[in-house]
C-alpha cells in the first residue's frame, strides 16, 4: 500500500474518531408504559434543556392542554411559497387523550431536568401485517412554558426491523416531519426567550373550569 493511501487512511480515522461524540440523538432512559395503543417513555435530551421537571399535573389538566393543539405540516421550500394552506387539524382525538394523558402525567413526574416525556399513539396501519399508523411526539415543561413537538402525525411506521416481503431488507421509519403547531386560545401560545413556541400552561389552566367544581 502506497504512502498516500496510508496517509488518507489516517486522515479518515482521525475524522471518524473526532466525529464520535459529536453526533447524538435523544435516547430512552425509562419506559413508563407500552401497550398496543400507546407507549410513553422518558427520553434524555442531548443538549442542556434545564426543564423544571418533575412536574405535578393531573391527567385532566394534561388532556385539557393537549386538546387545544392543532397542526399543519410545514411544506418544504419552494413548495411553501405556492402550496395552498390547509386548515390545521386537531392533533389528538378524544379517545387518544384518554389513553395518553395519565401516562404523560407519570412521565412528567419521573422525568429529570434534562429529560422529556415522549409518547406514541398507535392505530392499525394500511397493511396491518406490516405497518401501524403512528402519532408521536414529546412534551416538556420549563415553567411557565409547556412545550409540545410532534414528530409523526398519522404516519405509517413499519412494525418489524426487516421487511416481511423483501427478504432481509431493513425497514426504517421515515424521518420525523416538521409540523406547525397552533393552540386555542392563541394568546397562550407564546415565544420563549430562546425563540421556541410554547404554551403558558398555568395561565391557560386558570381559565379552565374544573370538572369537579363547574
Amino acid at each position: 500500500m502506497g504512502e498516500p493511501i496510508r496517509r488518507l487512511m489516517v486522515y479518515v480515522l482521525v475524522i471518524l474518531i473526532t466525529g464520535i461524540g459529536c453526533a447524538r440523538m435523544p435516547y430512552t432512559t425509562k419506559t413508563v408504559h407500552e401497550d398496543f395503543r400507546v407507549a410513553v417513555a422518558v427520553q434524555k435530551e442531548i443538549a442542556p434543556a434545564k426543564y423544571t421537571h418533575p412536574v405535578q399535573l393531573t391527567a385532566d389538566q394534561v388532556a385539557a392542554i393537549l386538546r387545544n393543539f392543532s397542526l399543519r405540516e410545514e411544506q418544504r421550500l419552494p413548495l411553501r411559497w405556492f402550496a395552498e394552506e390547509v386548515p390545521p387539524k386537531p392533533v389528538f382525538r378524544e379517545e387518544e387523550l384518554v389513553w395518553v394523558s395519565p401516562y404523560l402525567v407519570e412521565a412528567l413526574q419521573k422525568a429529570g431536568p434534562e429529560e422529556r416525556a415522549h409518547f406514541q399513539l398507535f392505530a392499525p396501519g394500511m397493511n396491518r401485517a406490516d405497518t401501524r399508523n403512528v402519532t408521536a411526539g414529546w412534551v416538556a415543561v420549563r415553567e411557565p412554558y409547556l412545550y409540545l413537538t410532534i414528530e409523526y402525525f398519522h404516519t405509517e411506521i413499519p412494525t418489524r426491523h426487516s421487511d416481511p416481503y423483501y427478504p432481509n431488507n431493513p425497514e426504517m421509519p421515515p424521518l420525523p416531519k416538521t409540523y406547525l403547531l397552533f393552540f386555542e386560545p392563541g394568546r397562550f401560545l407564546v415565544t420563549d426567550e430562546k425563540g421556541a413556541r410554547a404554551v403558558q400552561f398555568q395561565d391557560f389552566l386558570k381559565t379552565q373550569v374544573s370538572p369537579l367544581n363547574p
Binding site: M1, I5, L8, M9, V12, L13, I15, L16, G19, I20, C22, A23, R24, M25, Y27, T28, E73, V86, K89, R93, A123, P124, M126, N127, R128, A129, D130, T131, N133, F153, H154, E156, R160, H161, S162, P164, Y165, Y166, P167, N168, N169, P170, M172, P174, L175
Partner: protein, 593 residues
C-alpha cells in the same frame, strides 16, 4: 358502539337467566358451557362488526379517520333516543345496520403509496406491492501498467461458443457511466399475510459486463410464515449462507461489495440459487437457523444444463481437435456426447445466527441509531458437489464444459478454478456485527475447501499419438480463503455516514504471489434519512497478485501441433503478467421507491 355492547351484554344476561331454570347435572353443565361458548363467540362476532364504526382513509396524501355513519344522522338518532321517540334497541339496530351498509358499500380494495405502490383487498387477504430500485454510477479508474498485460487468472473473459480464455487488459485510465442496478419488484401476500411472494426483475449491467443488460429474473420465491419456528421459502432467491450474501444492495455502506464477498458464496458461483429453505422468524427468536437445499448452479439453471464432453468411447473426454487423451482412441470425433454425471447432486446450505444483544439485522451500518448495543455472530456451511469447471484433459481451453458455470466463476473472480475438472466445494463462513449509536463494525472470515475428483495432476501434454501423457501440471489447485472487516459511523444520525473497509483474499492457497487486497472508503448521504434515497462516493484501492499457476493460462501449455496449438498456442497468457493495482472513485445515486 358502547351502546351496541350494552345490547350484547343484555343478550348475555338472557342466557344466564335461562340456565337458572334448570337443575344442574353434568349434561346440563356441559350445555351451559356450550351455550356460554356460543354466546361468547356471538358477542365477539358482534363486537367485530360494531368496531367498524369508521376507518382511516387517505385524503390529499394524509390519513384521516372517517366515521362510517353520517354524523348528522347519528346526532338526530341520539336525540331521538333521549326524547323517547325511538327505543334503545331500535337505535342500536339502526346504528349496526348503517355501519353494515357503509361497510358493504365501500370499495373492496384500497391503493396507496408507502415504500412502493400498494394495492390491497380490504380484508387484507391479498396485497400487491410494486417497488423499483435504480442505481446510477460514475466510475473513474486509474490503473497501473500491469493492466496492459492484464488479468487472465481471476477475472478472465470467456468469449465465443468455446469460451476461450481471454486476458482482461486495458489502458491506465477509464471513465464510465453505468446503470449498476435497475430492479423492478413485485411482492405481497396471498390469501393470508403469512403466505408471501417476491419477484424481482433486473435490467442492469455489471461494471465488467461483456454484453448489454437484458431483463433477467433475479428472484421468484414464495415464503410461508405460518409457523414462526418453521418458516419455509421456496423458489429462486439469495441463499441464507453468510452476512454479505444475505444483505441486499439497497442497504450497503459502500457502493459496491468487496471482491472477496462475491467470491465466497454458498454455491461458489452466484449469490442466488433455486431451492427451498426452512428457517425461524429472526424477529421472534434470538437464535436463528437456516437450512436450505438448492440446485447449486446459480439462478435460472439446474444440473441438466451442465455436462462433461465425451467421445463415443465411454470415459474418454472429448473436446480436442485431433489426437486423443491417454488410453483413449486417437481418431474419434471430437464433438460427440454430453455426459450428465452430476444430475443426482444438490447443494446443501446451513446457517446459525446468534443475536447476543438486540437485533442487529442484515442491513449495513447503524441507520437506526440503536439506543442499546446490537451484537450478532453467525456461521454458515455449504456443500456444493459435482461442479464441472472444465474437463481436465490435455486439451485445456477448448473443452465444452458448460459455459454458464464457467462464466459465473470468471465473473466473481474464481477463475483460477477453471480447468481443474469436477470440483466439490465445502465453504465455511463466520461473521459478526456490532451496532451502537450510529457506530457499526462488521467482519467475516471465509474458507473454501476445493476437492478435485481427479486427484492427480492433470495432463497438459501428450505424445504425438496422443496416447501417453508426457507433461502434467506443475502444481495442484489449492483451497481459497479470505476475510474482510468494515466499520462505519454516522457523523449526522440517519443522514451522513463515513465507512472504511479492508478485505483480503487468497484465491489459491497453493499459489504464491496471488493475494488480492482491497481498501475502501465511503461517504454516504441519505437524503430521506433511510436507505431508500442516497448519494455515495467511494474510493477503492485494489492490489491483485498475478502469481501462481492457472491451468490453460500458465506454462506449460499443450503444444502438440496436431492437437492444440491452434487453440492454446505455446505462449501462456500470463507470460508477462505483472501485479495489478487499481484506484477507483465511484459516485453513485440510488433511489428505492
Amino acid at each position: 358502539m358502547a351502546k351496541t355492547q350494552n345490547h350484547i351484554g343484555a343478550r348475555m344476561y338472557e342466557h344466564d337467566g335461562t340456565t337458572g331454570r334448570f337443575p344442574l347435572s353434568g349434561l346440563h353443565l356441559f350445555g351451559v358451557v356450550l351455550i356460554l361458548m356460543i354466546s361468547e363467540w356471538l358477542c365477539f362476532s358482534s363486537i367485530a362488526v360494531a368496531a367498524e364504526s369508521g376507518k382511516l382513509v387517505e385524503k390529499n396524501g394524509e390519513y384521516v379517520f372517517v366515521e362510517s355513519m353520517d354524523p348528522a344522522t347519528r346526532l338526530l338518532l341520539e336525540r331521538a333516543v333521549k326524547q323517547g321517540t325511538i327505543t334503545q334497541d331500535e337505535y342500536n339496530r339502526v346504528i349496526q345496520e348503517s355501519e353494515q351498509r357503509a361497510y358493504l358499500m365501500q370499495p373492496s380494495f384500497k391503493a396507496w403509496y408507502d415504500r412502493g405502490f400498494n394495492l390491497s383487498m380490504n380484508d387484507n387477504a391479498f396485497l400487491l406491492k410494486i417497488r423499483g430500485f435504480l442505481q446510477m454510477r460514475f466510475t473513474q479508474r486509474y490503473r497501473n501498467d500491469g493492466w496492459r498485460t492484464g488479468d487472465s487468472k481471476n477475472f478472465p473473459e470467456l468469449l465465443g461458443v468455446f469460451g476461450d480464455y481471454r486476458a482482461n487488459r486495458s489502458i491506465d485510465e477509464a471513465s464510465t457511466f453505468n446503470i449498476r442496478r435497475a430492479r423492478l419488484m413485485f411482492m405481497g401476500h396471498l390469501f393470508t399475510p403469512d403466505l408471501k411472494y417476491f419477484v424481482q426483475l433486473a435490467g442492469e449491467t455489471a461494471e465488467n459486463a461483456q454484453n448489454p443488460g437484458s431483463v433477467q429474473l433475479l428472484d421468484a420465491a414464495v415464503h410461508s410464515t405460518h409457523l414462526p419456528l418453521f418458516n419455509v421459502m421456496a423458489g429462486q432467491y439469495k441463499v441464507f449462507f453468510n452476512r454479505s450474501e444475505i444483505n441486499n444492495a439497497t442497504s450497503m455502506q459502500f457502493a459496491e461489495r468487496a471482491l472477496v464477498m462475491d467470491a465466497f458464496t454458498a454455491s461458489g458461483l452466484n449469490r442466488r440459487d433455486i431451492g427451498i429453505t426452512v428457517m425461524n422468524d429472526e424477529e421472534v427468536y434470538p437464535v436463528n437457523y437456516y437450512f436450505g437445499i438448492f440446485n447449486g448452479l446459480g439462478p435460472g439453471f439446474n444440473r441438466f444444463g451442465t455436462f462433461e464432453s465425451e467421445q463415443p468411447t465411454l470415459g474418454c473426454p472429448g473436446g480436442q481437435t485431433g489426437g486423443g487423451p491417454p488410453n483413449c482412441p486417437a481418431t474419434q470425433r471430437n464433438l460427440n456426447a454430453n455426459f450428465r454425471n452430476s444430475i443426482n447432486q444438490l447443494m446443501y446450505s446451513a446457517r446459525l445466527n446468534f443475536n447476543l444483544m438486540g437485533r442487529a439485522g442484515y442491513g449495513e451500518g447503524d441507520m437506526a441509531y440503536s439506543e442499546t448495543p446490537q451484537l450478532a455472530i453467525g456461521g454458515g456451511y455449504a456443500y456444493n458437489p459435482g461442479i464441472n469447471v472444465q474437463t481436465d484433459n490435455a486439451f485445456v481451453g477448448i473443452d465444452l464444459a458448460n459455459l454458464n458455470v464457467r462464466r459465473q466463476l470468471a465473473q466473481f473472480g474464481n477463475a483460477r478454478q477453471l480447468g481443474w475438472g469436477t470440483l466439490d466445494y465445502s465453504t465455511y463462513g463466520f461473521d459478526g456485527v456490532f451496532k451502537y449509536k450510529g457506530f457499526s463494525l462488521q467482519g467475516e472470515w471465509y474458507w473454501k475447501n476445493i476437492d478435485r475428483h481427479g486427484k492427480s495432476a492433470p495432463c497438459v501434454q501428450t505424445n504425438a499419438a496422443g496416447t501417453v501423457c508426457t507433461t502434467v501440471a506443475p502444481g495442484l489447485l489449492g483451497n481459497a480463503t479470505g476475510w474482510y472487516v468494515q466499520s462505519g459511523y454516522f457523523l449526522i444520525p440517519r443522514k451522513l455516514q463515513a465507512a472504511a473497509r479492508y478485505a483480503w483474499w487468497d484465491p489459491d492457497t497453493n499459489a504464491a504471489g496471488d493475494l488480492i487486497k482491497q481498501v475502501d472508503f465511503a461517504l454516504s448521504y441519505y437524503i430521506s434519512g433511510t436507505y431508500d434515497h442516497q448519494v455515495q462516493i467511494q474510493y477503492t484501492n485494489i492490489f491483485m497478485g498475478m502469481g501462481g499457476f492457472a491451468l490453460g493460462r500458465s506454462a506449460p501449455l499443450p503444444n502438440l501441433p496436431t492437437v492444440a496449438i491452434n487453440s492454446s498456442g505455446t505462449v501462456p497468457l500470463d507470460a508477462n503478467a505483472k501485479n495489478l493495482i487499481e484506484n477507483a472513485i465511484r459516485i453513485q445515486y440510488s433511489i428505492f421507491f
